[in-house]
Symmetry: C4
Subunit: 197 residues, 4 copies
């Protein structure tokens, strides 16, 4: 009984810390939208790619928060490995502001697109590892384990990220299209988990 | 019972994440108050419009936090659509620091005023959509639904924002006056919701 | 009963939002400790006044968090006026990073010291108003009301702030000494409230 | 009973504030990863030392959060001294972004390594003091007191930090190696506390 309470509290603080870090990541990205010196409409135009890049990343980080929310919602136990798998995910998410700004300021050219894909792949792998840690702690019969199954969606998006990185060397705008596609796939919250609740 | 508990927890985390993002937005705006190089009183004077712009936005963001607080206080259920309507609202709020700084640094000229009005309109529409999502989840007989009615206040402030944008092309200071008026209207917390609690 | 629960929740979110804003204020001040270009010990020396200014403000903001924590701990009811009195306090606290940086970068000269004192006075007055709001909501017989009494400590520190501002025009280092004295007075958490719990 | 509830709440808010500050510290460090002007792979290379420095500090701050989490998890009582010991720890942690950036931008030369070691030592001492405060409040028979014993791990890492600082004057890369070693030692969460729960 007491133990359960302690574990629940631990989970609460893990969520609170993750929420804090993700909230800061999603917000400081806007600092890259540098205020232009002029005050005409024309002065806003060079910001368009930076803005689009920001919009894409805002949606991506929100997707991670959303799914992180659903995933932790469906489990009851955490341990040290989960804490570190979570920190690992936060590390990759923390690189989004950098990749976003580099991509936006260079109008979606090859290497910035590669960097964005690499950060996105890292976050995808980290999210997958976190889900596996949570399943191993909460049991193969837990709601999460049943909901995740082989986590096709997670694996597909990692593969798409790798395709996006490859395309950056050939047709940059196609690479960007793949990244947008990944976001579109995830925009729907993880119904698998919602279903089993 | 368990389900209720899970839903309540979900709402708690939605509030916590929103509080985090809004707290960061309201605070990083102050970073645009760039420290002047000189140390005389005269060196502070060019900062006055930036400061006034900051003050207006601080009040606006605080109003949103306040009303967001009251609105979520009065409901008990959330779902995936609510999560995304909330993220949509946070996105518009996250653009306030940019619009605030651009407006302040250019001493309230036409296009910065238009940008500020556009961000404010976007946030107003997003708040309205969030309230409608919450009403549809919590039922037409919920306290929120009765309190909101046709949400005249929300619609009026969106209309005033559009008037403010139009005036920016004619008499910029009148446009600013309209934005100040909108804040004044909202400064009173949403008594409609408080009343029905 | 339900009402109590709702009120308690409201207080929780007020604390959470305040904690968020104060946590950000206390942390972003460190961004003014600009990384020097050289890598020798000598390159650190010009940062000393900025560092001392940061240290003073870190302690001041921590004092506010601490006393805010004790004050809200001792009450049970909040209302709309409390929410706004709290936002008002956060506004003044949000100006600390600016005043701190200006004072540190100019080595504690007259006007930056005046600005620091003005921000500190504003925060002191806002804290006093918040305490009065809380007392009026929670009753003259509440633990808070008894603990605060005439709030001599709060009023003394506001008077000291005004003395500090005046001294800035005569002997700047004495002005700084007064500001340090105010922090020393408050470093002890508000025992009045702790006592009555 | 009521008192317990109040104390528990106080602890909760202490955790929340610490989480907030630590979340901001760990995230704003990424702002030092300045976006390069060019868009080629070559433009990323100068960022490598800054990135490695960021990685080391991200791990260090995460270790502190993790152990802070475990330590507060295992106790039930706090008091004013704990609040201030905690603020003292947060102050040292807040200097990590500065030390990290200075070290990374100067490619791990002597004085930046000394500064990093000094900040790390300060944080280590502050963590030790916080643990002693918590033990003195919660009793020598508390789970925490038994788990900590003489806190050999904490003392060893402070000694290693001092060795690292000394080595910076002789063989800088060895100094860095010692800092990495300290992180490696702590990467395992504080099993002593987990064991006794």
């Amino acid at each position: 009984m007491l133990r359960n309470k302690l574990t629940a509290m631990g989970k609460g603080r893990l969520e609170a810390f993750s929420d804090g870090v993700i909230a800061i990541i999603i917000t400081i990205m806007v600092l890259e939208l540098k205020v232009p010196h002029g005050d005409s409409f024309k002065d806003l135009q060079p910001l368009l790619p930076v803005f689009l890049s920001y919009l894409l990343s805002f949606i991506n980080i929100a997707i991670y928060w959303n799914n992180h929310h659903h995933m932790l919602h469906s489990i009851s136990k955490i341990n040290g490995a989960v804490l570190w798998a979570n920190v690992h995910l936060l590390f990759w998410l923390s690189l989004f502001p950098f990749a976003t700004a580099w991509m936006g300021e260079n109008h979606f050219t090859t290497w910035p697109l590669v960097a964005y894909g690499a950060v996105s792949t890292g976050a995808g792998v980290a999210y997958y590892l976190l889900s596996q840690c949570l399943i191993s702690v909460n049991g193969k019969d837990s709601a999460l384990a049943k909901a995740f199954g082989k986590d096709r969606k997670g694996i597909i998006s990692i593969i798409l990220d790798l395709i996006g990185i490859s395309l950056a060397f050939v047709t940059p705008w196609l690479s960007l299209a793949v990244y947008v596609l990944i976001s579109a796939i995830w925009l729907v919250p993880d119904r698998r988990i919602e279903k089993t609740k």
